[in-house]
Every structure is written in structure tokens, then in C-alpha cells.
């Protein structure tokens, strides 16, 4: 089994999403200007990298058997919806953005906040671009529903994310760079991410 690596060009930017992540229902001119200047600065340091492999899966009750390893998660099983092909991927927009966020978090928290909102929007846009290209409409990450965060360790062993895209896993299972995603992607139509999420009191819950 081979791990493939892809580098993407900048996926289209959705400013509304950025503002949502920044906690803004509406933006004044000053905030819009802040956002644009942060986008310009972030652009210089963003990279869009994905590493992935294809896995075949057999489902037995609430267990997904991927051959060499299995994952117990009823929610992932539901997500598979009978599909036996899964794309396992790791994606990141790189560590330079973290540097920028760290810098401003010390000297200008408003920029740090905006940059981290941009990072959140960018990594989602990257995942969308990758999933669309792979014909996958649904992605499911460790930490969603009953899929344990511990699964991250297995994913990192398989994908060798560090070597391929510079993505690492910390002892507390937090990923570095921070604007990164690992997920099982399943073929099918795209669904509204927020709609299928059970955390209904989330501050970032989007329009349904």
C-alpha cells in the first residue's frame, strides 16, 4: 500500500466562513479591513498538502475492519453507509501559519484571532477540495461522535504524516501544525457538516 501526497493550489476563499470562525455575525469596515490584511499576510505562508491512501473496509456490527487494524465506532459505520472503500487522509495548511498566529498572539490578539479563523476556513476548504476530487462527500474524523481520538495514533502510523506532509501528533493527541485534519472519507454526496453534528450548542454552528 502506498501513501500518496498531493499539493493543492489555493482553494477559493469564503469570507463569510472566516467571519463565522472569528465570532462575527456581521463585519464593520474596520473588521473587514483587518480580515483582508490578514488574508494577504496568511497567503504568503499557507501551503496545502494532503497525504492519503485507499483502504477497503469490512463492517461487522459497530466495528470497521480495515485488514491490518480495526476501529470500533458505530457512528463511523453509519457514515460508511454500506460503502467498502474508504480514503484515509491527513491534510494540513502548514506550520508557517502557526508561526504567524503565535507571533500575533503575543503582539496583536485581534490579528491572531483573525488568522486562526482564516486557518480554520482554509483547512476545511482544503479538505473539501480533496474530497471532491476523490469523489468523497462525507468525511469523519477522530473525535467526532463515538470515534475515539486515540485512533489518531493508528492513522499517523499508517499515513506516516510527518514524513509526507510534516504533520505530527502530540502526546495529548493534538496535531501540529494546528490547522490540520485527519479523516476517513467516504464516497457519496456532500452533506451539511453542521447539520449532521450532534453538538447543537456549538458557538460556531453554521446556518442549517
Amino acid at each position: 500500500m502506498t501513501i500518496f501526497t498531493k499539493t493543492y493550489k489555493e482553494p477559493p476563499i469564503c469570507e463569510k466562513e472566516i467571519l463565522r470562525y472569528a465570532g462575527c455575525k456581521e463585519a464593520s469596515d474596520d473588521v473587514t479591513e483587518l480580515m483582508h490584511s490578514c488574508i494577504d499576510e496568511a497567503r504568503l505562508c499557507l501551503s496545502y498538502k494532503v497525504c492519503y491512501c485507499e483502504l477497503s473496509v469490512k463492517v461487522e456490527e459497530d466495528e470497521c475492519d480495515f485488514g491490518n487494524f480495526s476501529v470500533a465506532s458505530g457512528d463511523l459505520v453509519k457514515c460508511l453507509a454500506g460503502s467498502n472503500r474508504v480514503v484515509l487522509f491527513g491534510a494540513t495548511v502548514g506550520s508557517s501559519l502557526d508561526r504567524l498566529i503565535a507571533k500575533y498572539s503575543r503582539i496583536s490578539p485581534s490579528r491572531a484571532l483573525m488568522l486562526q479563523a482564516i486557518g480554520a476556513e482554509r483547512i476545511e476548504a482544503l479538505c473539501d477540495a480533496f474530497c471532491k476530487e476523490s469523489g468523497c462527500g462525507v468525511r469523519f474524523s477522530p473525535g467526532y461522535g463515538d470515534l475515539s481520538l486515540q485512533v489518531q495514533k493508528k492513522i499517523f502510523d499508517i499515513l506516516n504524516c510527518e514524513k509526507h506532509i510534516g504533520l505530527t501528533l502530540n502526546d495529548s493527541l493534538v496535531m501540529s501544525p494546528s490547522k490540520s485534519v485527519t479523516a476517513f472519507a467516504v464516497s457519496g454526496k456532500a452533506k451539511n457538516k453542521c447539520k449532521s453534528c450532534k453538538k447543537t450548542d456549538c458557538a460556531y454552528r453554521g446556518a442549517l
Binding site: 472569528a22 473588521v31 503575543r106 503582539i107 491572531a112 502530540n170 502526546d171 495529548s172 501544525p177
Partner: protein
Amino acid sequence: MNFKEYLKDNIVYLDGGMGTLLQAQGLAPGEYPERWNITHPEIITNIHKDYFDAGSNVVCTNTFGANILKFSEEELEEIIKAAIENANGARKQSKNSAEKFIALDIGPSGKLLKPLGDLDFEDAVSVFAQTVKLGAKYGADLVIIETMNDSYETKAALLAVKENCDLPVIVSNAYGEDKKLMTGATPQAMVALLEGMGADSIGANCSLGPRQLRGVVEELLSCASVPVVLKPNAGIPKAVDGKTVFDITTEEFATEVADLIKSGVRLVGGCCGTTPEYIKALYRASKGLTPCKLTDKNKTVVSSYTHAVEFGESPVLIGERINPTGKKRFKQALMENDIDYILNEGVNQQEKGVHILDVNVGLPDINEVEMIKTAVCELQAVTNLPLQIDTADTCAMEAALRRYNGKAMINSVNGKKESMEAVFPLVKKYGGVVVALTLDENGIPETAQGREEIAKKILAKAKEYGIDKKDIIFDTLAMTISADSRSALATLGALKTIKEELGCHTSLGVSNVSFGLPVRDAINGVFFALALENGLSAAIMNPYSADMMKTYYSYRALKDMDDNCADYIEASSEFAQVIAPTQMTEKTKEEYKSELQSAIIKGFKEKSAIITAEILKTSAPLDIVQEEIIPALNMVGKGFEEKTVYLPQLLMSAESAKSAFEKIKEAMPDKNAKDKGTVVIATVHGDIHDIGKNIVKLLLENYGFNVLDLGKDVPPEVVVDKVVETNAPLVGLSALMTTTVPAMEETIRQLKKRAPWCKTVVGGAVLTQEYADKIGADKYARDAMETVRYAETVIK
């Protein structure tokens, strides 16, 4: 023959891929290939033997990920022992008569180092040290550090090799298509760092095929004085009919790599996707080529984690502002451990255009070793400029050099025996360009000739330590002309002779020349121009001085160093700019009570500072706080609570208020305006997210609290120790991940035990009221304003 001797006159053939071959033999996804040294020794031995037979002089042991983070101590020893035995077995079995060596292979730890990740630099050194010691113990001939995509981790690995064995060491990095490492370093920066620390060979491997790596290789060849190594992939993997195929053939690979041998590469092999066939083809394609002669590039270079700065034609500016000498406000910041103040000085100087930042944090009453270590680590998290480590304390110097992510500039050594004996070993070990002051036991010679003599003495002594003259920059000591009218002439004369006769670069602390005179900038600017004309390579200077910057840009434009005067034109707008508080429009008058309030509410940071400075001329500092800043903050805070103002706007206003407060502080540096009480804040152990915590800090400070920020990933006992030490009435804790909430709970538990008087307020993305209750927090705050309001009830 030993490896170093063989390397002198030969093209060295390394081996090719291992992982791809093991997968073909049944290595499962996610299975650790290093274990196969023990479980499948015959397969590993055969692969090594195939490489020796194909023409490899060096095989790399199957120990890419063999480190203490992945394996237990016992298993690690077993793996490395077996791996070297397997390679040795292959060496004995191979009939090829070529010289054969075994390299202990060291790959990345799999972790990112702090501040980007959670592995501490010293811990990384220890991780690699364990592997190195075992490799040396079981008889490896050399070490190869490979596929590293972060300069800091590469430094940790090389330091571990240097501190734990005497084996030759090859260092190879994984560069991307942008010709940089994933964490940003250019080939020039890596060469500066690695040559400085004494790597025997430097190069590139993995990530791309030979064609895509050509640009990187050319850059390496242009600046490296040691042999360059290249181990590219067999192109890029593609899936064809369910099988993995690399996209270039053995012949294409061989031709491309052989071509790069002609350009100067001295060690060649392959990485992912390459097999003994590739090495065989490469060996055939390059047979008979003569190895290119190595040339000493003789470049004076310092580097950061992203780029190198070379001393040469264009003058190098070294910002002098991170230094407490003569700066009351800076001293206060140091005493209060106010790192943010230092960071701001760094970032501001970078914006002014300096190339290097001088870092001096020495004060009689502080622990300089700890302070400089902190300052270096924190500065390199917010700026990518190379740093100049400026200290007279060699322990502090070593602590800073060790942690520095690049090849530092070192300030300074001088002609005294004691100074050279203390500083030169550090320069040799960690690399660096050292500023040498032309003074010795007899003081500063009055004449240029006397200073040149000391320079010669310093060069001779440096040579004994194996330090080349390219890594020494002479400071011929600018002395004030107010004490001796001939002093500038002596300094300038010494500059000229050292440059012309010794062929060395020079640096000056320019501002000293005007000490004791009025309008010092005027003298400094002209002296700087004279020094440049006499061959000055670098100046330690104040970038906020318009006169100095004018001289710098004008000089470059006049000396044909600035195409189309583009830099001059860009900078000139700033020379001309006079920022004055603007007149309030009628509309502003109606909406806001004052201009300062308007600036704060609208979030104009610079304007707030300027207006504050202006009204400080007529109003008392504390009146401005009470009548202007606090009301403005309250207005925005109230708007946020009523959801008419959103978070980014709140922060912009808070930052503007902070910049106004900074001016107030400058006006009364001896008094602490913040006397409301102390709040200790931290992001809990295991968590590295700190934006939320920093937002809370900013707002608490705005509202007059004295905030002790312990940073992120803070162990429970560190928080408790600080609370006990300061008797703080309130602690704020932040956690973003569910996995780090237990660390928050533990911190609260320990606080209750050892500091029962102290209240706790918690926040962060995963927290809820329910969670907060469960872990025993006194208060759950949804946002920063709520924390402020709670603090106001706790501390009255």
C-alpha cells in the same frame, strides 16, 4: 581506509530505498520496519547485500525510526544491535571489492519541536543521543541524519551526534518544491547551520525526484564548502491499475543523478522507490567521472530558521534596541518578566528593516542564563530574523547558542586570553559568527595600527580552535568624540586596514561615537556613512533613528546596490512622514467624547499611542486613564456583552488601549499603574493553544489587573508554585481539547490543596458550565469579558 579519507578523493555511492522493498516483502501498513531487523534478519541482510553488490560504498542501517519515543529502551538496543549486525553480515557476504561502510541511519523523531509542537529541544537531543550511543557502541562507521524537514530538529540530531560519538556525520534534509524545508529553511540557511556545527557532508534526500531537486542541489553546491550529498526519490509515486509506480525509470534516474555529479555532488544514492537496480544503473552511468574538487566558499554567513544573511557588499543592519542599557522602560520590563515588551521591540525593529536582532538581557538582579534562553526561544517564535547573542556571561551565551535555531551571531570576544579561551570553544561547538573587539589586557589601543595588531592576535588564536577567519567580524570600537576628538579617525582607520589587509568583515556600535553630545542622531548618521565608505560590513544601530536609516538607504542607492533606487524610494515615504494627531471632525465630536476615545473605540492602535503621547504633555497620566481610556473600554466592553460589538472589534480596541497604556507607562516607569491585584493565567499541560488565553490576558491588563502569564502547556505544579509565591487571589486556566481537561482538573485539585484561598476561572472551546462544575472550578467564563467581570468581583 576510514570513511573521511575515502570521502576526500572519491565519489561515494550510498544505497537506495528500504521501505518500498520491505513492503514488497510483506511489511504491513503501520507496522514498524525497524522490528524486521530482529524478526526478518535475512531479508534485511539480503537487501543490504544487494546494494553492496550494486556498487554502494555505504549502506544505511534499517533504523530510520529507531528511537526511544517509539520503542522501549531494551527493544531499541536490540533493534540497533541487530540492524548493524545485518549490515555487517551483508558487508561480509558481498563479493564487491569496493570500500564498504555502514552508516547508522537516523530519521526524524516523528514529533515537531516546541514552539510548533510539544517536543522540547533538549528532549529531542536526548532522544537522538540514545540512538547515537547505541550506534557507536555496536560499531557503525558513520552516522547519516536524513529526511529531516525541520531545521531545529536537524540541529538537535547533529548536536546529539557531536556530543556522543566521534563518527563522521552526513546530514541530509527533505526539501519541498519551493526549495525549502517544511518549517521554512532555505538550502543556504541549512548550510550555514550545519557547516557551523561541523557536519562532514550536507545535502538533500527524499520528497522529490532528481530533476525536481536540481535547483536545491545547485544552491547547496553554491554555498557549501563540504561535500554535497544527494539521495532523491525515483520520481513521484503514481497509482497505475492498483499498483504503485514511480514515474522515472532506472536509466533516467541514473542519467539525472550522474549529471549532478558533474556539477559537483560527491555522495549519491536513492530514496523512496529506488532499488539496487537504480544504484547499479547510477554506478554504470557515472563510472569514470572524476569527483569535483571541493572549494572553500569563504562566506561570512549567519542564519535563522528560514534564511541566511551574508556579510559582503550590502551593509547589514543589526538592531540594538533589545538591550536594557540606558533604557528605564526596558529594565522595568526585564524585572517584571514582561517578555511581550521584548518581543514587540523585536517585531518593530524587523518592520523598520533591520537584518539581525541584537539580544542583550543582562541586568545585575536577574538570572541572565534563564532570561536569555527565554528571550531567544520566544523571539524565534515571533520573528525569523537571525539573532545576535549579546552577553558577557559565557554560561548565558552557551544557553542561548544551544537553543538558537540557526547559526547565530555572537557578541562578543576580545583579545584578552581569558575571553578567547571562554568564547572560542562555544563558537566551535555551536557554530556562529563572532564579533571580536579590538581590545585586550592593555585596553583599547589609541591607534588604528594597534587595533589591527590585536585583530591579528585574535585570528591566530581562533585558528588554534579550528575557527576560520570568515567567522570572525572585527569591531574596531567607536568611542565618543566628545572625549577625544581624534577617536573617530582611529576607529575608521582600523576599519580600513582590517578590511583591506586582513580581509575580514567589520562591525561597529555606531551610536557610541556621539555620546555626550546634543542631537546625537546627526553625528551618528554621518559617522555611519564614513564608516561604510571605509569598508564597514555591519552596524549595530537604532533603526528608529531616521538619520541612520536615511544614511543606509542613501548609501546603497549611491553605491549601485539598489536597482532603480527602489528600496530608497520605498523607504523615503517613511522619512518624510510626520504623524500628527489629526483634528477631530465634527462628526467624531458628536459620537465620541474625545479623540482618544474615538481612536480606542475604533481600534486605531498607532493613533491611540500618538494621541496619548500628545495629551500627556498637558494632562496627568492617571487622569488620562480614568477619564479617557477606561470609559472607552467600558463602552466597547458593554457593546460586546450586548452583542453589538464582536470579538475582533473588541480586541482591536483592547490593543489600542494597550498602546495608550504603554505611553502612560513610559511617562511613569517607576510607578506601577496596575495595582488592582494579581491574576495568574495559563493554558494547561498538554495543550498548546493560547489565543484564547492571550485575549483574556489583554483584557485583564486593560482593566488594570497585574497578569502573570505562564504561557501554554504549563504543568499543574508550576501554576500552583506561582500562586503560592505571589499569593494570587485568582487563577485563569484555559483548555481547548477534551484530552487536556484532565490536566485542568489536576491543576485545580492541587490548587485547592496548596492554595485554598485562590479562586479559579476556566474557559476554552471544550468547556461548558457542566464540565467546569465537574472539575471543581469556581467559575466558568464563556468569554474574556466574563473573565474580567468575574475578576472584578474576586479582586476588589
